[in-house]
């Protein structure tokens, strides 16, 4: 007998039929001899509807009242799911965060939420606190794939993936799991499984160490089109300039991803960096207002394509295959960034899908 935490997203409980589908999965898990704790999101578009209601009242709602408002959505889901489970003869009670042990409250007993994607994080936190054997995240896909199966042919579902690889894939736009939930799972070593609520076959297990099944080194190819490249020309080639630039950006909470610095020439150098497109305008303003960097430009036609896989650095052939795939397709690489488990290239956004397909073909076919 095991203790399993199961999390179902908003689309999995959007109506009566879906709620009963979830209830059957839970009941089957329970009937197989397991204890089950279930975490559910608000139904379908409930959260969006509630946000719209607040938007009619004010453009600047207090965070406290927003959390009070939005928490009602999950309260509806848990009550309906408990009813469905009881209807199936599976005894269940619903618990709000504070009833399940004073979660979801701040020091003033105000109701708080973890924001969008918070139910993944809640599920992992509960699994960690209860020392659960596994935390299953049910979604509308059957697991984690080597690339987006809707856009790339011949993708494969991964049987296993490490936390670090999953974090890289998530931050690269794979959007299967909320990143904070993976970080929390890694911190408390909670074994995750990503699987489908509509087709309940084994999904992808996310854990600390995986067996190197099928000899597959690369775990996935991902793209992120929410990328802006900001370039500062003619930066004085002297100590402290990088600190000045990125200190200014950090003060404004702008997350910088890839940084590229040219070799100095004639006492000058160029610095380029990437950030989310939504933060590019603020970054530009901060830099121009500082009066140190006048020659600043932004390119919002970029995308990042990446391959992820542990141990990649010790296999130099991987990078060259990635570059070969792009070369074969006449795709220009603007920036390159490497880490222990990832190689990323900044390219034209218009080439992103073609690049992912070509790299996937090269590495997996």
């Amino acid at each position: 007998m095991a203790l399993i935490v199961q999390k179902f997203g908003g689309s999995s409980v959007k109506d009566r039929d879906r709620i009963f589908n979830v209830a059957r999965i839970v009941a089957n898990t329970h009937n197989a001899g397991n204890d089950v704790v279930v975490v559910v999101s608000a139904q379908g578009d409930t959260t969006d509807d509630l946000i719209a209601k607040a938007g009619e009242i004010t453009h600047n709602p207090s965070a406290r009242e927003m959390d009070m408002l939005l928490a009602s959505g999950e309260q509806i889901s848990i009550a309906l799911l408990a009813m469905a489970l009881n209807e199936l003869g599976c005894h269940a009670i619903s618990l709000t965060g504070w009833q399940a042990g004073f979660q979801g409250l701040n020091k003033l007993d105000d109701i708080t939420t973890l924001g969008r994607g918070g139910s993944d994080t809640s599920a992992v936190a509960i699994a960690a606190a209860l020392h659960a054997d596994r935390c299953q995240i049910y979604t509308d896909v059957e697991g984690v794939y080597t690339a987006d199966p809707r856009k790339v042919r011949n993708t494969r579902k991964l049987e296993e993936i490490t936390f670090d690889e999953m974090l890289e894939l998530a931050s690269l736009g794979a959007q299967v799991l909320n990143n904070r939930s993976v970080e929390l799972a890694k911190k408390y070593n909670v074994e995750l499984e990503v699987l489908s609520s509509l087709n309940p076959i084994p999904g992808t297990v996310v854990k600390e160490v995986t067996k190197d099944m099928e000899g597959m080194l690369i775990k996935g190819v991902a793209k992120d089109t929410d990328v802006a490249v900001i370039t500062i020309l003619n930066v004085p080639d002297e100590p402290g300039m990088s600190f000045r630039i990125f200190g200014l950006l950090a003060q404004k909470n702008i997350n910088v991803d890839i940084i590229l610095q040219s070799t100095g020439r004639d006492g000058k150098k160029d610095i380029s960096f990437t950030c989310a497109e939504g933060e590019a305008e603020l970054a530009m303003r901060v830099l121009k207002d500082s009066a140190h960097f006048s020659d600043v430009s932004v390119d919002t036609t970029c995308a990042k394509v990446s391959i992820v896989g542990a141990g990649m650095q010790s296999h130099s052939g991987v990078a060259s295959k990635m570059f070969e795939a792009m070369s074969n397709n006449n795709i220009n690489i603007k920036m390159i960034s490497t880490s222990e488990i990832k190689i990323s290239c900044i390219i034209d956004r218009a080439d992103a899908d073609k690049a992912v397909g070509a790299i996937h073909d090269m590495l997996f076919d």
Copy 2:
């Protein structure tokens, strides 16, 4: 400076405009130097919508999960109203029942509700606990009238009415205040005011003792069309028969209102009583199944019209005026019941509106 509890029903907060209307009333009360505690119902049809959702899942939801579900409706209202108050510059925070002092929870910390009309009762309970100076119940009418102003001409809004009179009027179908809330207000001597959220002029104050303003003895004329008369013929005229009949009904939680017993003749008597129409079938079955009462019939074409006013019993002229009004209109009286503050007549349902109008004209014009 006073402490005032204000309660607003679901129609008063049904959309953005109504919420701001409520927020302005609250802000004005606060700006006049008062402390204000606000109790709101779920928006518009929210409770009905949630009940429908539960109905799709099960026809027999647990009370615990139903309360968990329905409490979400009020949580939405309080968050939106707090946002609107803050938007008007009036500092406010929303509190669920348990945040306001562990209300709305049972001993197991389950969320509980007081059922339909529960927000009136909540408001009075909070007013009692806080020793509030007044509890204002905002509705869609401007106060308590001498009869239903939509159906009777020349009705008058009462400036004041006693708790007992209000209880009689409420149970007679005036439907302005939830009965439990009036009982609670009487028990803890909480001064109530019924007034309109759309036309905020002084309403009707409900209190223990009223000044006998305008020399008005009768406070109102009311009708109740949810009345069935059950008649048992040829009951043996011997001790214990009433206990047998009404004991059987009490076991089934059937509320009996008026009881009429004929004088015994030839060792037999007839007993008639009224109950809500929805309980009449069960009452009939209980009596027939007992094998003691075979000659049982039900009349579901009845209505009850009543006049209410403290001190009525010492003014015999009141009853005769009521009967005169019905006689003038050729309305047959089937049963009569009197109490210290009320006279009720059972008549044909088809005559009910005409009777109320005639009695009101006779007593108030």
